[in-house]
Amino acid sequence: MPDLHPGQPKGRPKPVLPAESPDTGTSSGSAVLADAVPETGPSGRSLWHDAWLELRGRVVFWFSAAVLALAGVMAAFPDVFAAMGPNENCNLRMSKKGPGSGAVFGYDLQGCDYWSQIVHGTRASIVIGVAVTAFALIIAILLGLVGGYYGGLLDALIARITDVFFGIPFVLGATVVLVAFPGHGMWAMTLVLVLLGWTTMTRLMRGQVIAVKDTDFVAAARMLGAGDRRIMFRHILPNSIAPVFVVAMLNVGNVIAGEATLDYLGVGLQYPDVSWGLQLNVAQTFFADHPHLLVFPALFLTATVLSFLMLGDVVRDALDPKLR
């Protein structure tokens, strides 16, 4: 599928100093982030070390990392923050009451303490977001490496399968599958979202592998007698993973938003599960008169998604030698 990766040189090794190369033909996926070809700084530091030095000084990095750390702790130990368990101690008489004494965030439709409910909703978003991305990343790395490295029929086959799944619109596809298999929990949702969400990273990974496999250091490794597997995992992988890793970070945010959308549409998680998307689903009917129902879960959801996106952005900037 050479059409999607116009930037790849044919038989000509990629210039190893990308800061000097005006690589205008980046493909659709990798145009947002420039190809990060291995670059050893003047003092021999690695790309990742350089990136870390740059990240250390960025306020945005620390801010989003802090928000995500907090969200992570909330997901792991909700009881530390929430006074009540999920769907616990609800009083219908308090239904939809706004913030006041006793409940900082007010009460939800069932009269449960909204703050506690929202805290418990963190877990669904974080677990699904991270798990989906992790699985999709593994698939992308394996398929991208195999397809990009070996090429030929196998590559063509992988590319076509990628095209098929890439061609299914995300929300519609997920809706159809989720309705076909009702009674799904968090892990079934994860599976569905992985199924629909592995293509972008796979395409990007494949493009990266193709760009890297023609470099001199890969040729050197091969001449030294390294086997395919060693070349793929020890040489190509570390030098092609950076942009894929960035997209993975951004992807966590997108998956969380997507999961919330499916919950909101009513095809995702179902009561008695607790999630931000479900809370927003309930809120849609009442938000005009009870805005707190919409505002608080939306705030948490947005803050989490935003943090993943900002983190991905600063990491990309730090990893991208072209923008230095």
Partner: protein, 307 residues
């Protein structure tokens, strides 16, 4: 030309497998649609058999799919289990969704590229920072939250736009929903344009043009911008398919009687033929859009044709 043919041939298996997957999934939906038609009443065996025969439900899945695709290529999308033609059912709804998607698309194209250029020309400037922060925020807010907020603030409180329905026709009724639907793509287009422009402005050919003494607006307009827009065009093409699918949420919020709304109702009513019909058409649009983009891409960037 070889490139175009090759690309066309590639699209065929993708199309067949994608539609087959969707077809299979929808028909794996739980429940017997014929029994569901009758409600609580018992259905005589003969009636059941006749109905099953009529809808090819007794045939193997592959044969059913074959019948279906045959119909699609003859312009017949099948009929619902209540006997209504799917094409008819979708007739007016297509117009609504198409208008919505086009509004959103124009919005993305004009505002997105505009913002991207403003930001990209002065990397690190105030406008650039504002565009970056704003677009990150737009991407982070889920579309439905954005939709409701816009509906309340701009529609209800300020009264700038109609809040729901299609009474005012195009463009009036479609402006706000279009903006909401297009917001995500807009943010993406703006960022893509910016990154691409920043990269191109550093390219050697821009330095050469500057050295030659060309004026700034000619360098940007004639050289840098044209090259920068290649990835943007790709995205805009692919996104048109996304917009049609994304209409499910937006049409729900703004109560627009489009296909998105229909899909959603049909899924819940287990009207398999309608769901398959619409989703298949959406996938077709998506694949054709992809194809057109790839061909266009070849025209814009000769390196691809000759690769």
């Amino acid at each position: 030309m070889r490139y175009a043919v090759q690309r066309l041939i590639q699209a065929i298996p993708v199309f067949v497998i994608t539609t087959f997957l969707i077809y299979t999934m929808v028909f794996a939906l739980p429940g017997d649609p014929i029994l569901a038609l009758a409600g609580d009443k018992p259905v005589p065996e003969q009636v059941l058999n006749v109905m099953r025969e009529h809808y090819h439900l007794n045939d193997p899945l592959l044969v059913q799919y074959g019948y279906y695709m045959l119909g699609v290529f003859q312009g017949n999308l099948g009929e619902t289990f209540t006997g209504q033609s799917v094409s008819e059912l979708l007739g007016d709804r297509w117009a609504v969704t198409a208008q919505l998607a086009v509004t959103a698309w124009i919005f993305e194209l004009v505002v997105g590229i505009g913002l991207g250029i403003v930001a990209g020309l002065r990397r690190g400037g105030i406008a650039d920072t504002a565009v970056l922060a704003g677009t990150t925020f737009i991407i982070a807010v889920p579309v439905f939250v954005f939709g409701y907020t816009a509906q309340i603030l701009l529609g209800l409180n300020l009264g700038l736009f109609p809040t729901a329905g299609t009474d005012e026709g195009w463009p009036g009724s479609y402006l706000l929903p279009g903006m909401v639907l297009g917001s995500f793509g807009l943010a993406y287009v703006a960022r893509l344009t910016r990154t691409s422009l920043v990269e191109n402005l550093r390219a050697d050919y821009v330095r050469t043009a500057t050295a030659k003494g060309l004026r700034r607006h000619r360098i940007v307009g004639l050289h840098a911008l044209r090259n920068s827009l290649i990835p943007v065009v790709t995205y805009l093409g692919i996104d048109f398919g996304n917009l049609m699918a994304g209409a499910v949420v937006t049409e729900g919020i703004f109560n627009l009687p489009g296909i998105g709304q229909q899909v959603f109702q049909s899924i819940q009513l287990q009207e398999g033929p309608v769901v398959v019909g619409v989703v298949t058409l959406l996938v077709m649009i998506f694949i054709v859009a992809n194809l057109v983009v790839d061909l266009l891409y070849g025209v814009l960037d000769p390196r691809i044709r000759r690769a």
